[in-house]
Symmetry: C2
């Protein structure tokens, strides 16, 4: 059973297909319009899934090339971007080519940025192979690479022609990476979908067991939520900021631990617990609601809820350096009850410092 979801962006609208074993299904074929296709993947994913996809596409009579990148965020650079462009030029891909991103968020972000800028834009298809990429980075059109002085500082908003979320490939994903994706799934429940949050509380065991129908539902609801927010605010001028619930805290934690201690989703998990705490201090969330958020994260039996012991002043500074700052003012995403997020640039710094200092409470 394949589920189909449309991301409504006018002439840039596209479909997300969710289901088992989509990777080599014929669903893909109509979206590869020209005679050339280039699959961009990484050294971890390629041995598992590249040859099947290559063979499927080659059987349709197309020129199929593949470019395999080293794995990891440290390779999400302008140098890797430039290498992919060089390869496409060397292999003589023209403006009618189609790019396919086969991998996690890093592969998707680089491939999307190449697609946005190769010969001023060619179509691309996302085949995300991590839960995080399926529910987050493959939807919304953010593409790009990191700069030594900051993450995602170079990039473009560019929409894919299609996203294929194959639930089968999650079986080869390491547990820790799977849970990092679950953190973002929980986020959607908190910021916009109280019913989905309740479903997660009830269905978490099925999800952790990788039951196909539970996976498909979680991915579908997450993508639908993100798609709705992105459709309302494609270029992140307002509403879209709510997708960053937990992220301002999370990014600061990642930065202060040199991106070594936590996966992005893990830092976001802690960030959500902190954002819930701050929302409670601001009177937006009851203590019981803040507790439900923390409890659901803890129930994953793997995602952290407890921040590392970091200096509050350093955290403040790391949060202020975040690029989601408009002309010097810190904007924070808060929860008003479970299921409704809001953005505020009026947060009392004293209360923020209380949350940053609430180590004992959050880690009890």
């Amino acid at each position: 059973m394949t589920e189909r979801l449309q991301v409504d962006l006018g002439e840039r609208s596209y479909d997300i297909l969710i289901g088992e074993s989509l990777l080599t299904s014929t669903d893909l074929d109509p979206f590869v319009k020209g005679r050339q296709v280039a699959i961009i993947s990484n050294e971890t994913v390629a041995p598992l899934y590249l040859s099947g996809l290559r063979e499927h596409l080659a059987a349709t009579g197309r020129q199929v090339d593949s470019i395999v990148l080293p794995d990891g965020e440290s390779h999400k650079t302008l140098a890797t971007y430039s290498h992919v462009i060089d390869e496409l030029m060397r292999l003589r891909h023209n403006r009618s080519t189609t790019l396919i991103a086969l991998g996690g968020g890093v592969v998707g972000d680089i491939t999307g940025f190449v697609a946005a800028t190769y010969q001023r834009g060619v179509p691309f298809i996302q085949i995300p192979t991590t839960l995080l990429a399926q529910v987050d980075s493959s939807v919304g059109g953010k593409t790009g690479v990191n700069h030594p002085q900051g993450k995602n500082m170079i990039g473009a908003f560019y929409q894919p022609a299609l996203v294929l979320a194959d639930t089968q490939v999650l079986r080869t994903l390491p547990k820790r990476e799977f849970l990092a994706g679950v953190a973002e799934v929980i986020k959607y429940g908190v910021i916009r979908e109280p019913g989905f949050f309740a479903w997660l509380e009830a269905s978490l065991p099925a999800l952790l067991d990788l039951e196909p129908s539970a996976l498909a539902h979680a991915i579908r609801e997450s993508c639908a939520c993100k798609a709705e927010v992105v459709a309302a605010d494609e270029r992140e001028s307002g509403l879209r900021a709510i997708l960053n619930f937990g992220h301002t805290f999370g990014h600061a934690i990642e930065a202060l631990t040199q991106y070594r201690m936590f996966l992005h989703g893990e830092a976001v998990a802690i960030g959500m617990v902190m954002a819930a705490d701050l929302s409670w201090r601001l009177g937006l969330l009851s203590q019981a609601e803040a507790q439900r958020i923390k409890a659901l994260i803890a129930a994953t039996d793997g995602l952290p809820v407890c921040p590392p012991k970091l200096d509050a002043t350093a955290m403040l500074e790391a949060m202020g350096m975040d690029k989601k700052v408009t002309d010097g003012r810190l904007r924070l995403v808060l929860a008003r009850g479970i299921g409704q997020a809001l953005v505020s640039d009026q947060v009392d710094q004293a209360l923020l410092l209380q949350t940053l200092g609430a180590y004992e409470k959050l880690c009890e």
Copy 2:
């Protein structure tokens, strides 16, 4: 007298202001929204106009930085792009910054591509300082850099917030570069505006004397024509191709002479004479009309009309390698009378070879 022209692209619409001494006028100010502004210029233009612009903007209380690039097409590379990004990061420009391109087409193309991709997009203003940039590259949203294997292979479609075409700055432009711009001005008359073509035949002396009102009219009509075509076809799927009248021949001539013999506008001038000849052979243009096109170009007393002696087969190949090829088919822009261009992918190769071999006729 400042003329104002709107490029109608829905939410991406913007104004072109044309007039004398706009460079340091207050017309600019409302378009610099944030507290930071970075002027990107080159070593030729900066000594002439940078300090005036800097002082004007600094007086408005903003952080004003400037990045001066080496001059020339050979620096339109990913390396230069990367250098500009590095500088913006070093100077801590945030998402609210505004970039200003102060220079010719190369500065505009690089700055536009940086603006399209710095933190996934910041606003930018074009202040083109060559006639070619004023009537061509500053309108239409094409941005990008060259790849060693091809021109403009990396880039994006990205619209400026404003274009300021200051006719005064053309007084410091070398005559040869000025005429290269006139070639593109003539092109607009041929492809879409028979009345403008007739005006050019009558007013060429005034234009070559840099009379402000003649300059403003020529720039206005050229930008209006390009703006109309771009508005109808922002991403170059159809109509926009007519803007390439003379360019497929021109690009091939540039490539086969290693980009050393002709300025781009000069190669386009020859290309237009060749495209007119081919249009005549196809029965689209009368001999007299083809002659009028050649005569107007020749009357500039500086633009070439005569192709260099190049091997016809090499020309064919160079034209076929042009990136305006869709899945292997050569599309050519032709003139049906003066004032109406069309695109055809059905040109009889024998007739094309006749044009390529018509050296004696074209150079008589």
